[in-house]
């Protein structure tokens, strides 16, 4: 830490320990990486074991919806980054619009995901379903991983959408402002993390055919 010692005493002067807050967020993201890491570990082991089945199952994924979702999420990452840049320049209104755009795109991602899952469930492919259990072991595992990994990722997207909505509210009320935007920046970090997880999920489930 290059900062002068004692400078971080937030209770001392009432000033906000910007570096400390960001550090806490990065630590939290480390834990998130390890959380998803457990799933990626299982994926790699099962894929190694059942390479053929994984290859075949991935063909059943809807690559169009998957690609649209990737585009939506990547764009939302751009808008949240721009909203932070706008906040730094003190442009409250454009920051608000960009945050709103992020929320809408996050919601759109979830809606698309809903239709994707819905289509699979309607043809009887969901964990422990008779149709799925009749398939090969690798396929059972592939779709098990598909539901668990995209499901937990979706949960993170949902949390992100809710948190960004709060940030939007805070920005409107100006408790987030040009001097004090650590919360918004941390939310941005979280949103980029959610995005990065998807960047790995997309090839692993849609592109490996």
């Amino acid at each position: 830490m290059k900062k002068k010692q004692g400078e971080g005493l937030s209770t001392e002067t009432g000033h906000i320990d910007y570096t400390g807050k960001k550090m806490g967020m990065w630590f939290f993201l480390f834990t998130e990486i390890l959380f998803f890491g457990g799933m990626f570990l299982l994926y790699s082991i099962f894929r190694y074991k059942y390479a053929q089945d994984f290859h075949a199952s991935a063909a059943e994924e809807n690559i169009v919806l998957g690609t649209i979702n990737t585009a939506v999420l990547l764009t939302s990452s751009l808008t949240i980054a721009l909203s932070i840049a706008a906040m730094k320049k003190g442009k409250k209104d454009s920051s608000c619009y960009l945050q709103l755009a992020t929320v809408l795109m996050g919601a759109a991602f979830l809606v698309i995901k809903y239709f994707e899952w819905g289509a699979k469930i309607s043809i009887g492919i969901y964990p422990n379903s008779p149709v799925l259990l009749a398939l090969g072991k690798g396929e059972i595992l592939f779709f098990g991983l598909y539901y668990v990994m995209t499901g937990l990722h979706g949960l993170h997207v949902l949390v992100g959408v809710i948190v960004i909505s709060f940030m939007l509210y805070f920005t409107r009320r100006e408790t987030i402002n040009q001097e004090n935007y650590a919360r918004l920046e941390n939310t941005g970090l979280y949103w980029h993390f959610v995005d990065i997880v998807w960047i790995y999920l997309y090839p692993l489930f849609y592109l490996i055919t």
């Binding site: 971080g8 320990d17 990486i33 959380f35 457990g38 595992l141």
Partner: protein
Amino acid sequence: MVSEGMGDVTAGFYERTKKYRWVIAEWMMSTDHKRIGVMYLIALLSFFSVGVVMGFIIRLSLLAPGWLADQQTYNEFFTIHGVIQIFLFIIPGIPVAFGNIFLPILIGAKDVAFPKVNRLSWWLYVTGAVLVFLSVFIHGRPPDTGWTFYAPYSIQTPANISTAVMGVFVLGFSSILTGLNFVTTIHRLRAPGMGWFRMPAFSWTLYATGWVQMLATPVLAITLLFIFLGRFLGVGFFDPTKGGDPILYEHLFWMYSHPAVYIMVLPAMGIISEVVPVFSRRSLFGYVAVCMSALGIAIVGYAVWGHHMFTSGMSDTARVIFSFVTFLVAVPSGIKIFNWVSTLYKGSIQVDAPLLFAISFIFLFSIGGLTGLIIGALATNLHLHGTYFIVGHFHYVMFGGAGFSIIAGLHYWFPKITGRMYDERFAKLGWLNLFVGFNILYFSMFVLGFLGMPRRYFDYPPQYHAGHVISTMGSWFLAIGLVIIFANLIRSIFKGERAPMNPWGGKTLEWTIPSPLPRENFQEIPVITRGPYSYEEEAR
């Protein structure tokens, strides 16, 4: 927080702030690290007592198998005993109690970096504890899988595994937040002049522990979630009929749970590193080595999980590597032991209760550590893995290690937390019973295990009877010891003499402020100009 301490500057931290009508609300809503720490401490010791009673009953039942508990009840008892002692007591243990109360003070800060997150972490801990206890009392059978929740049994058993697993999941989240908070605190809130190598060793161990909490616990979280999903949705990652693999569960579980033993024992070593210098009036010998070995243990500790699975089915190459790395991790522990002993050497030793417990820690942890090498070696492990030898080793490191250190810390910091002195004679009497009982109870387990007594069995052939009777008798002494120790401490809260600011002649910052702790840690943030244990400098 500034707002909480605006009034009376001489007020103790436990005095009412009148912010809420109810005392309990005032404490539960408090973001003061000292209050949160004290609440944790009370909760931990309560759960510890429940766990001890369960262990006591397990031992009683083994006097004559079946007279007290049938097989199913026995399984449930050792499961709940394990879950409580591991997840509710010893993993959160020292960081959340002593860490919360003293870390900010030791580094000269007003509070932790994120006081509200700290409070959230406490609420999560309470929630997790409620869930764990619900799993015992709600309709259906209490968990009977052992504290490890091994698949596939944990997915198939009709017992209330889901509730217990959710409880542990929530506790894990609480643990992550505490670790994150402490690491950030140590990075950001050290007082002016408090360089990294002027921090007391306890803060260093909390720093290493914080990293392990952050980097290991999420793996447990996802693993437990798989159990949960397996039970509710039939996702079969650990179910061979669905292509899964139960061994994977063991890998994922121990990937967390081995580093977790360092979550338990690293801060314990920190307490010992505080107590030993104070009671021998010498600087901590090899201070830098002690601090660095904490980091060393934390790092190497990640790469040894496989030694829990030598008999589970793993390639020979993997087993040899895991065995080798297990030997490596003993090195930094050894460094610490030698440094503590060297600190005592030629010191002006004052044998008060905290030092007695600390020295017992060194002795018991050495036995625990050395027997760990016996079972860390491949060939002997195959013979001893499924036996009482493991139970003995485990209790020597966990109870003899972390447990004794918590009791040492309890006596050492008792005057600072409560503002009273405990009764030294009863403390020593309690120690004697505890120490003797402990060794009878757990050393006979080494012998039993070496003779082949399998662990987790409710029944045994007659040739093990004598060993079991001796072990059970040890548990009586141990229980008497604990009763004396805690009765003494509880009585002293009300009847003890008023404690002075610095009863032990300690050099760290907590001894420069009043006993009991004031609401505001420091009237003025101290400027640090010396190392943490400057006994020699002073003598010159």
